[in-house]
Amino acid sequence: MDRALFALAAVFVPIFPLSWVFNRTAALLPAGAQALVVLIVPQIGITLLAATFHGAPPPLSLRPWIMGLATASALLYALRALSARELSIWTRLMLCSGLAVVWLAWAAGSPGPVLRLMALGWGLPAAVALFLAGALTRRAGGAYIGLQGGLIAVMPRMTAGLVLAVLALTVTPVFPAFFMLWRGLESVPLAWLPFWLPLIFLWGWAAGRLFQDLLFGDYHGEPMADIGALSVALISVAFLVSLAVSLAGSGGASWY
C-alpha cells in the first residue's frame, strides 16, 4: 500500500521517472486546465505523501535515496528546460525541477502545511505562466521561443506578467520559491550543496534565455492584442497570494 501511494505521489508531485506521466497528461489539456492542474495536483500528491508510512517521515535508510533522486530530478529538468523552446513545456519542466524540493523537505520530515506552501510557491507562478502561454498561443498560434521575439513591444502587459512568473519560478528573492528553496535546503547535508547551487545557476540561465528569445529584440510577427484587464486582475491576485506565501515562507507566520 505504501509503495502504491508512494508511486502515485511521485506522479502527482512529479519526480523522475514518474514525472513524465504528469507532464504527458498535462500536455493533453488546454492551457486553463493546465494552470489548474499545476496548482491542485501537487496538493493531492502531498496528501498522498502524508498518508505513506502512516503519516510518519520516510525511514532513515530511505531518506538519502529520496534526497538523491530529488536532486537528480531537479538537475535533469533544469537541464531539459535549457533546451526547451515551447513556453508551456518550459514551464512544466521548471515546475518539475522546482517541486523536487518538496521531496527533499518531505524526506527531512517537514510537516504537511510546509509542503503545501512549497508546492504553491512553484505552482502559482507556473499556473500564471501556463495561462499566459495559452493566451499567447491563442493570439500567435504558438508560444515558441525565438520565433517572434520582442513581445515586450506588442504585449507589454503579458510580458510583465510573464517576467514576474518566470522570476518567481526561478527562485528570485521576494517570490515564495526563493524562501521555500532555502527551507528545503536546510534539510540537505552540506555535501549535497554543490549539486544544488549549480541548479540555481541553471534556472537563471533558462530564464535568461527565455527573456532574450521571447520577450526582447525586434518583434517579427503579426499584430496582436495584449491580454485584457480581467487577465491582469487574475494574475495580480495570483501574485498577491504569492506574496502571502512568501511572508509565510520567510518565517513571517508561525507555520511550523
Partner: protein
C-alpha cells in the same frame, strides 16, 4: 592544396571591389558626418538605397505609419502622391477590370497602418486567395513536393552567401554570431589606441600576422576545438589564406566576389574603420600598426572555417557550400522544415511539432509532416492576403468589396502583384511628397529683394562671418535683430584648409572638409616669454591618471586614493556647473599663443635645421661620449654635422683633437645618423616638412580674396569683421566631435578663423587686395571668434592684438554677442524638453545651457544639426528676418560677383557636398536607427579610444545615436534629402553644375534636391524634378510678397 599567384591577386582585387560600397569610418575624435551610402553615390538615390539595404540589411525609408503621421501634420504633398500613382498605373499594361485602382493605391498608402499589407508568400496563389475570400481552402497539389521545395530553396541558398550563415539558417547554430564576437575581440586587441593597459604584442607585423601569432597560442580557441594551427600551416599570407579557405569551402570561383562582399559588409563598422585607416596616410596608428581589409577578411574566414569544421565534427552539419547544396538536393523536405523552423518563418503552431520531428529524423514522418505543413502554410498565406484585400476594399468603399468578390483567380494575381509592386516602391513616393512640401514652404518663406536695390548707405557696426552650419542661422537671426550687425555664411573652415599642430598636442589635425587634404601646416606657439612649470594640480591629475591606467596599481591605489575620485563623481553628478568652475580655477589656462602662419624661406628652414641638428650633436656628445659642452667649440659641432651628413670627409676635427680611434669615431657617427637622425635623407625629409609650414603671401592673398568674394563682401567693410568658427562642449560624450564643425573635419573652427584673420589684418595682404579692387579700410579689424553651440556663447580671440582705438567699442560688441547668445538659448532650451517658460527667460535659459554642457549624464546636450533640410546659396537679403528654425545651411553668395561661376563651383564642390553628407548621415540614421544609425547611446561603450560599440562588444557603431535624431520614440529629424536652393540665373546655374561631374551626379542622381531661384526671371523658383526644371507655382516676386508669408519679424527675446 596548391594556390597560384593569380588566386592571391584575384582576392586582393576582389576585396578592393567589394569594399567600394562600405563607407569609411573616421575615428570618433574627428567624427565626420558622411553619407553611409557614399560608395554607391554613382547610382541614382533609389537604386543606391535598394542596394545599400540589401548589403547592410537596413531600411532606406521610414515606415508607412511615420509618413502617415507627417501627412496628418500637413507635411506631405498629396498632389505629388496622386501624380505618382497616376504615373505608376500608366506604366501597367494590365489591371483587374472594374476596380478603381487609384483609389485602392491611395487607400493602401494613406489609410492602412501596417508597414506592409501584401507580403510575398511561398505558396499563395490567386486561386487560393479566391478560395480564402469564399471561406474555403484550396488544396496544394501533392505531387512532386520534393521538387517544389528544392526549387523554392535553391535560389535562397546560393553559393554567394557565407556558408556559416546558411548552416545557421538550416541548423539553428550561431556560428555567424560567434565569428562576429571573435573578430570583434581580435579587432579590439589589434586596433587599440591606448585604452588597454596591456597592448597586444607583434602589432607592427600587421593585423593578420599579429593575430595569427596570438591565435596559435589562444587557449580559448583550443578549448573550443578550433584547430587553427592546421589551417595556418597551409598558407602564410592573408590573401593566400582567403583563397585557400574559399577553395576548401568549395565556393565556385564565379561566386567569390559576392561571397567576399557578404563577408565584408556583415560588420561594416569595423570594415569601414579599416578602410579609413588604409587611406589615411597621416594617421599615426595606421603607420605604426598597419592593417587592411584583406587581413580583416582573412581573420573572419579562418574563424568561420574553423567553426564550420568544428560543427561538422561535433554535430555533422555541412562545412562547405557543396555540403549545403547536397543537403538541399538529397533531403529537400528536411531542409525546408529546417529553413522554416530556424529561419523564424514557421507557423508558431507547428514549431514544436516540426522541432520534434527533426530531432527524431525519420524521413517518412518528415515527408508526411512537410506535406501537412505546406498545406497549412498555403492556407495561412492565402487567408492573410485575402484578409488584407478585404480590409483594403472596405476602406476604399463604394463597390470595391463587390468588385473584389467578382474577380477571377487570374485577376486576383494581377491585383496582388500590382499592390505589392506599389508597396515595394512606396518609400520614394513618400519621400518626394515630403520634400515637395518643404520646397513649397521655402517658396513661401523667402523674401526676394525689391526691384531696385538701394545702395548701402550705412556702415554696419560689425560684420560677422558664421559657418554655414544650421545652428548659425539662429545666432545670425538674433544678432541681426538686436542691432546694427550684418552677417554672412561661409564654410566653417573659411576656405582655408590647414593642417594644425596645436600647442601641447603631438599630432596634426586636418581642419578642412574630409574630402580635402591640406597642403599647409600651421603651428601654434606660445607667446609667453617665461618658462612655465607644470602646475601642481595638473601634475596630480597626471599621476592619478597613470594610477588608473596601470594594471597593478589600482589594487593598491583604490583604497589609498579612491576617495579622491569619489569627490569628482559626486561633484559632476550633483553640481556639474559648480564642479566645472572649481576645476577650471585649479587649472592654469592656456597661454597666449600665435600661429606660425608665414612660409619659411629656404634659408630660414635651413637655419632651423642647422640649429636643431647642432643641439642634437651637443646632446649626443654629452650622452654617448661624456664630452661636456665646454670642451667643444661651435666649429667642432659644425664640422661633426658636415661629416655626419657626408658633406665633408672624416676624421672630424674633434676626433683628431681628442685622439679618438677611427672605430670609435665611426661608431659615434653611426649613432648620430641612426639615433639622432643627423642624416642626409632625414634632413631632406625634414626640410620638406618645414616647407609645409605656413602660407606664401600669394596663397594668403588668394585665400582672403576668395573668402570675401565668395560671400559677396567686397565693399562697405565695418570696423569689426568677426570670423566666427564654431565648436561644442559636452561631457562624457564620445560623439562630441559630431557636434563640432563638419567643414573643419569634425574639429573646432577657431584655428582657421585665427589664420584668416591674421592674414586679412596684414598690411601687405591688404595692399595686394586693394590692387584687386577689394579695399579694406584702415580701421577695419578682423577678429577671430568661436561660437560654442552647446552654450550659445561667442568668445572673441586674439584681442591682445586689437588696435587700441577698437577697445572703445569692445564692450558694445561683447554685450551684443552675449545678448544674441541668450536669445538663442531661450529659443533652444524648450526644444530639449526643458520648461517652455525658458523661452521668455533668456538669462535662465543661458544658465541652463551652461549646465547642459557640463552635465556628464546628459545624453542630448544639444540637438546639433538635427532637422536640417535646406541649403540656401544666395544673399542674406532673401532670408533676413525669416525664422528658418535652424534648419538651413546658409551660404552667402552673390552671383553678380562671380561672372565665370568659379566661386559657385567652389561652393557646390565644398560646402554643398559637406551639407549633403551631414544631411544624409541624419537621414539614414533616423530611417534605420540600428543599421545606419548607432542605436541608443545608453548602451554605448568606447572601443579602443577610436569608436563606440553597443555593449562590451559589437560592430563599431558608425551613424548617429538615436538620442540625436529621435524624440519620444518618433523621428525628431525629419528625413528628407537636402533641398539646395541657389540664387542665380537658371542657365548660369545649369552651366556651372554641368562643369562639375561629381556635383552633377549627386544632383541628377537625386542625392540633393536642386532648386534654382532665378533673379533674372522675377525670382521664380525652378525645381529640378523628373529630369527637368519646373517652375514652382507659388514662386515669383508677387507670390513671395503675399501677405500670408510666415515671416517672424521679432525674435523670442523681442516679444
Amino acid at each position: 592544396m596548391v594556390l597560384i599567384l593569380s588566386d592571391r591577386l584575384k582576392v586582393r582585387a576582389m576585396v578592393y571591389v567589394a569594399s567600394e560600397p562600405i563607407p569609411r569610418f573616421w575615428p570618433m575624435r574627428t567624427f565626420i558626418h558622411h553619407n553611409p551610402l557614399y560608395g554607391l553615390e554613382d547610382r541614382p538615390f533609389t537604386a543606391a538605397v535598394a542596394e545599400g539595404s540589401r548589403l547592410f540589411h537596413a531600411r532606406g525609408y521610414l515606415d508607412r505609419g511615420s509618413y502617415q503621421d507627417y501627412r496628418r501634420a500637413g507635411k506631405i504633398d498629396d498632389v505629388l502622391i496622386g501624380r505618382r500613382i497616376d504615373a505608376f498605373l500608366a506604366g501597367r499594361t494590365e489591371g483587374p477590370a472594374g476596380l478603381d485602382l487609384k483609389a485602392w493605391l491611395w487607400q493602401l498608402m494613406t489609410a492602412t497602418d501596417r508597414p506592409r499589407m501584401i507580403e510575398r508568400g511561398d505558396f499563395a496563389s490567386g486561386a487560393g486567395i479566391r478560395a480564402a475570400l469564399e471561406g474555403r481552402t484550396q488544396p496544394v497539389p501533392g505531387d512532386d513536393l520534393e521538387g517544389r521545395l528544392r526549387a523554392l530553396l535553391e535560389p535562397r541558398y546560393g553559393p554567394t552567401a557565407p556558408v556559416y550563415r546558411q548552416v545557421d539558417a538550416l541548423f539553428g547554430t550561431t556560428i555567424g554570431a560567434t565569428v562576429d564576437d571573435l573578430v570583434t575581440k581580435s579587432c579590439l586587441d589589434f586596433f587599440d589606441e591606448g585604452q588597454s593597459a596591456w597592448q597586444a604584442p607583434g602589432r607592427e607585423a600587421g593585423f593578420f600576422q599579429a593575430w595569427k601569432g596570438l591565435a596559435r597560442r589562444n587557449v580559448r580557441f583550443l578549448l573550443r576545438g578550433l584547430h587553427l594551427r592546421q589551417v595556418f600551416s597551409e598558407e602564410d599570407t592573408a590573401e593566400g589564406m582567403v583563397a585557400y579557405i574559399l577553395r576548401r569551402l568549395e565556393v565556385p570561383e564565379a561566386a567569390w566576389q559576392d561571397y567576399i562582399t557578404h563577408e565584408l559588409t556583415r560588420m561594416h563598422g569595423w570594415a569601414g574603420f579599416i578602410r579609413y585607416r588604409m587611406g589615411a596616410k597621416h594617421y599615426y596608428w595606421a603607420q605604426r600598426y598597419p592593417a587592411d581589409l584583406v587581413d580583416f577578411l582573412a581573420v573572419r574566414m579562418v574563424l568561420g572555417f574553423a567553426l564550420l569544421q568544428e560543427g561538422r565534427r561535433r554535430h555533422g552539419t555541412p562545412a562547405s557550400s557543396a555540403g549545403v547544396a547536397g543537403l538541399l538536393r538529397t533531403a529537400p523536405v528536411q531542409a525546408y522544415l529546417r529553413h522554416e523552423l530556424y529561419g523564424g518563418t514557421i507557423l508558431p503552431a507547428w514549431a514544436h511539432k516540426v522541432d520534434d520531428a527533426l530531432a527524431r529524423a525519420r524521413p517518412s514522418a518528415l515527408a508526411g509532416l512537410a506535406a501537412a505543413y505546406v498545406q497549412a502554410k498555403a492556407d495561412w498565406e492565402n487567408q492573410r492576403t485575402a484578409q488584407a484585400l478585404r480590409g483594403l476594399a472596405r476602406t476604399v468603399g463604394a463597390d470595391a468589396e463587390a468588385g473584389l468578390a467578382g474577380l477571377a483567380p487570374g485577376q486576383i494575381d494581377v491585383l496582388v502583384g500590382l499592390l505589392r509592386d506599389w508597396e515595394e516602391g512606396e518609400g520614394p513616393v513618400w519621400l518626394e511628397a515630403m520634400e515637395s512640401h518643404y520646397i513649397g514652404e521655402l517658396a513661401a518663406r523667402i523674401r526676394p529683394p525689391a526691384e531696385a536695390e538701394p545702395p548701402a548707405t550705412r556702415r554696419p557696426f560689425a560684420q560677422a562671418l558664421f559657418c554655414i552650419d544650421v545652428r548659425s542661422e539662429r545666432m545670425r537671426r538674433h544678432l541681426e535683430s538686436l542691432g546694427d550687425y550684418q552677417t554672412f555664411g561661409i564654410a566653417g573652415f573659411f576656405g582655408v584648409p590647414l593642417g594644425y599642430l596645436e600647442y601641447g598636442k603631438g599630432s596634426e589635425a586636418h581642419l578642412c572638409p574630409a574630402v580635402q587634404t591640406p597642403k599647409n601646416l600651421v603651428l601654434e606657439i606660445p607667446a609667453g616669454l617665461e618658462f612655465e612649470e607644470e602646475p601642481l594640480f595638473t601634475a596630480l591629475e597626471h599621476v592619478l591618471h597613470e594610477l588608473k591606467a596601470s594594471v597593478l596599481s589600482p589594487f593598491v591605489a583604490v583604497e589609498a586614493v579612491g576617495l579622491l575620485f569619489s569627490l569628482g563623481l559626486v561633484g559632476r553628478t550633483l553640481a556639474p556647473l559648480g564642479y566645472h568652475r572649481f576645476r577650471s580655477r585649479m587649472r592654469t589656462g592656456k597661454p597666449i599663443t600665435r600661429l606660425l602662419l608665414d612660409k619659411l624661406s629656404i634659408e630660414q628652414a635651413d637655419s632651423i635645421m642647422r640649429a636643431v641638428q647642432r643641439a642634437m650633436i651637443v646632446r649626443a656628445l654629452a650622452r654617448e661620449l661624456s664630452i661636456p659642452r665646454d670642451q667643444v667649440t661651435d666649429d667642432d659641432v659644425r664640422n661633426l654635422r658636415e661629416v655626419a651628413l657626408g658633406n665633408e670627409a672624416g676624421p672630424s676635427r674633434l676626433a683628431q683633437r681628442l685622439g679618438m680611434s677611427q672605430a670609435a669615431e665611426h661608431d659615434f657617427l653611426e649613432k648620430l645618423r641612426s639615433v639622432y637622425r643627423i642624416d642626409r635623407a632625414v634632413t631632406s625629409l625634414q626640410m620638406g616638412r618645414l616647407g609645409r609650414i605656413g602660407f606664401s603671401v600669394e596663397e594668403q592673398v588668394r585665400y582672403v580674396t576668395q573668402a570675401l568674394l565668395s560671400i559677396g563682401l567686397d565693399r562697405n567693410f565695418s570696423r569689426f569683421v568677426l570670423l566666427i568658427g564654431h565648436m561644442s562642449h559636452s561631457e562624457n560624450n564620445p560623439y562630441e566631435s559630431a557636434l563640432d564643425c563638419g567643414a573643419c573635419g569634425g574639429g573646432k573652427g577657431l584655428p582657421n578663423a585665427r589664420a584668416l584673420a591674421a592674414m586679412a589684418n596684414k598690411p601687405e595682404i591688404r595692399r595686394r587686395l586693394r590692387e584687386r579692387g577689394i579695399v579694406i579700410p584702415e580701421d577695419t579689424w578682423f577678429v577671430p571668434a568661436i561660437h560654442n553651440t552647446t552654450t550659445d556663447v561667442i568668445e572673441l580671440h586674439d584681442l591682445d592684438m586689437l588696435p587700441a582705438r577698437h577697445l572703445l567699442y569692445l564692450e558694445r560688441l561683447r554685450s551684443g554677442l552675449a545678448a544674441a547668445g541668450r536669445c538663442c538659448a531661450a529659443e533652444r532650451m524648450p526644444l530639449l524638453d526643458l520648461p517652455a517658460r525658458l523661452a521668455a527667460e533668456p538669462f535662465a535659459a543661458a544658465a541652463l545651457a551652461q549646465r547642459q554642457a557640463h552635465d556628464w549624464s546628459q545624453v542630448r546636450p544639444e540637438w546639433g544639426l538635427a532637422r536640417n533640410v535646406y541649403a540656401i546659396v544666395g544673399r542674406r537679403v532673401l532670408t533676413e528676418g525669416v525664422d528658418l528654425e535652424a534648419r538651413a545651411f546658409l551660404q552667402s553668395y552673390d552671383y553678380r560677383l562671380d561672372p565665370k561661376g568659379r566661386l559657385l563651383e567652389n561652393i557646390l564642390t565644398g560646402p554643398l557636398v559637406v551639407g549633403e553628407w551631414i544631411n544624409l548621415e541624419h537621414y539614414f540614421s533616423v530611417v534605420d536607427t540600428e543599421s545606419f544609425g548607432s542605436g541608443s547611446k545608453v548602451y554605448h561603450n568606447v572601443a579602443g579610444r577610436f569608436a563606440v560599440m553597443t555593449g562590451n562588444q559589437s560592430d563599431l557603431r558608425t551613424g548617429l545615436p538615436s538620442q540625436t535624431v529621435v524624440k519620444d520614440g518618433r523621428p525628431y529629424h525629419e528625413p528628407v534629402r537636402l533641398i539646395a536652393m541657389v540664387e542665380a540665373p537658371l542657365e548660369f546655374a545649369r552651366r556651372t553644375v554641368a562643369r562639375l561631374a561629381k556635383v552633377q551626379a549627386l544632383i541628377s542622381g537625386g542625392w540633393v534636391r536642386l532648386v534654382v531661384l532665378d533673379p533674372e526671371d522675377d525670382y521664380r523658383m525652378h525645381v529640378l524634378e523628373d529630369g527637368g526644371f519646373h517652375v514652382h507655382p507659388r514662386s515669383g516676386r508677387a507670390a513671395h510678397s503675399a501677405p500670408d508669408n510666415p515671416v517672424l519679424e521679432a525674435s523670442p527675446c523681442n516679444r
